[in-house]
């Protein structure tokens, strides 16, 4: 661990990984509760068009990715709120459009090729600059602020939208807030695990946490703990075994889930009054 910290790029990568591991499961818990586990994937696909747009126009890909991801998230939310039956098909159409748009735009960009997109699809945490870390930190703080300030309202909304409306909550605003926060999280996590694996950090730690917990608050806290363990653990091991960090992070998270699944079964078996109900 000590030799690891001698490298500047590794220090920056670890900070970035830690922040993403904290922020992604925090908003992810609400998304999973809302049965939108694949929302992150959808936004990730759309963000690819944003990245390519950045290369095409010569602007920073992160900025265009934020812009397009937020627009895409708002579009997904509007489609979800409007249609009832055809919602998932409409989402799928947006996903495909995002990937196809990305590939098309990057081919139009000067000197761009699909290889340019690879680092965004699968992450490139070791090339994170000090400025990137700052942007990631700001976005992570924003995500955590949203969860802290609006947590109570989001809990009611994600539990039952009608009850939220009957409690006088601004349902449309809160729904868009979740979508936009998810979009920001996707772009933040893009550098760490890549767009294709972003959603894993929003979903797997939550799935792991809920094997072991009984309450919402404990789930979200445990998910954040698991998230940071997975990102920091995966990144550290990638340094030693020289494997792509994004893949290792997700595999560490999945390993944790498998462990928790077994442990959760064991815990529940020893909690007789619950299994009887």
């Amino acid at each position: 661990m000590i030799d690891l910290l001698q490298y500047d790029f590794m220090q920056r990568a670890l900070v970035a990984a830690f922040l993403v591991g904290l922020a992604a499961p925090a908003i992810g818990t609400f998304i999973v509760q809302r049965r939108l586990a694949l929302l992150g994937d959808g936004i990730g696909h759309i963000a690819l068009t944003g990245v390519a747009l950045g290369f095409l126009t010569g602007t920073a890909p992160v900025l265009t990715a934020v812009l397009v991801a937020v627009l895409g998230a708002v579009a997904i939310e509007l489609v979800r709120a409007r249609g009832r039956t055809s919602g998932d098909v409409a989402l799928a159409l947006l996903f495909y459009g995002g990937i196809a748009g990305g590939v098309l735009l990057i081919s139009l960009a000067p000197g761009g090729s699909n290889a340019t997109l690879m680092s965004y699809l699968f992450g490139s945490i070791s090339s994170v600059t000090a400025q990137d870390v700052l942007v990631i930190a700001l976005l992570a703080v924003a995500v955590l602020l949203v969860v802290t300030v609006f947590g109570r309202e989001l809990f009611v909304l994600c539990q039952d939208e009608e009850v939220a409306r009957a409690s006088g909550l601004p349902v449309r605003f809160l729904s868009l807030l979740i979508a936009v926060t998810a979009a920001l999280t996707v772009v933040v996590a893009m550098r760490v695990v890549g767009l294709l694996l972003v959603s894993a950090l929003m979903v797997i730690p939550v799935a792991t946490g809920q094997q072991l917990t009984r309450g919402f608050r404990s789930t979200i806290l445990l998910a954040m703990l698991f998230g940071t363990v997975a990102t920091v653990g995966g990144l550290t091991s990638s340094f030693y075994v020289e494997a792509p960090p994004g893949a290792l992070i997700v595999l560490v998270a999945l390993g944790g889930f498998a462990l928790a699944l077994g442990l959760g079964r064991f815990v529940r078996r020893n909690r007789p009054q619950e299994s009887r109900q």
Binding site: T29, V32, Q33, R34, R35, L36, A37, V149, F150, R152, E153, F155, V156, C158, Q159, D160, E162, V163, R165, A166, S167, G168, L169, V206, Q210, T213, R214, G215, F216, R217, T219, E274, S275, Q277
Partner: protein, 250 residues
């Protein structure tokens, strides 16, 4: 509230309903499956849009209504979300939401109201258990406790007795008796009244999206709810705007 229309998927569900619930009333909305009972109470609160007519909550349309803490809505069933666990206490405490301000932490008054609500439905000793592990009747109790925690003036309950065991039904009746004694208004949708029957001061029977009975609770609900049942009641003429007011427009 008085008279409006609702269509779901272009199929008319409510065909022009006039209904005013006055403060302190205990109204049972009765009727066969598919008669529009649930739709009526949800439209009443502005949870689903009207295709005709209008609804007023304490004299205001839902979009401009700000005193949502006055209303405690109990949905038909507890939706357990995407599998993220939540404890009984967390769900019940969320009933305080319309009384809380966004930037203030949950206070002692909130905690006390939550505890009272849990005690009222007999779940205080299980507050830390996940709601997912409860039976249907117990989940119904959690939903009622959530509404109780908000300390509203008016309770709107969608089938609080459906699929609920006898003990939970009796507990619901006892809880409602307490609320009625405090002068709270209750609107509840029911298929069968069971132990709630003595509490009801007014029954509204729906049939094919129209009110076919509005008045004192019928003794034999079954016969009244049957199609073709002829019932004529003298209705009070123009009433002052009540708790929930629904008027037809145009």
């Amino acid at each position: 509230m008085r008279g409006g229309q609702v269509s779901l998927d272009r199929r008319p569900v409510l065909r022009g309903i006039d209904l005013t619930v006055r403060s302190g009333e205990v109204v049972a909305v009765l009727g066969a499956n598919g008669s529009g009972k649930s739709t009526l109470v949800r439209a009443l609160l502005g949870l689903i849009p009207l295709s005709g007519g209008s609804t007023l909550l304490y004299g205001r349309p839902p979009a401009r209504f700000r005193e949502w803490w006055r209303i405690g809505y109990v949905p038909q069933r507890l939706s357990v979300g995407g599998g993220v666990p939540a404890t009984i206490r967390e769900v019940v405490a969320s009933g305080r939401i319309s009384r809380q301000s966004r930037f203030r932490l949950t206070g002692a008054a909130d905690a006390a109201a939550t505890t009272r609500a849990l005690e009222a439905v007999g779940l205080a000793d299980r507050a830390g258990d996940p709601v997912q592990a409860l039976s249907g009747g117990q989940q119904q109790r959690v939903l009622i406790a959530r509404a109780l925690a908000g300390e509203p003036d008016t309770f709107v309950m969608d089938e609080p007795t459906a699929g609920v065991d006898a003990a939970s039904q009796q507990l619901l009746a006892d809880t409602l008796t307490g609320l009625v004694d405090q002068g709270r208004t209750v609107v509840l949708v029911a298929h069968e009244l069971g132990p709630l029957e003595p509490l009801i001061t007014r029954a509204v029977v729906l049939q094919d999206g129209c009110v076919c009975h509005d008045g004192p609770p019928p003794k034999a609900v079954g016969a009244h709810a049957l199609p073709g049942h002829d019932h004529v009641h003298p209705h009070a003429e123009e009433r002052p705007a009540g708790t929930l007011d629904w008027r037809p427009t145009s």
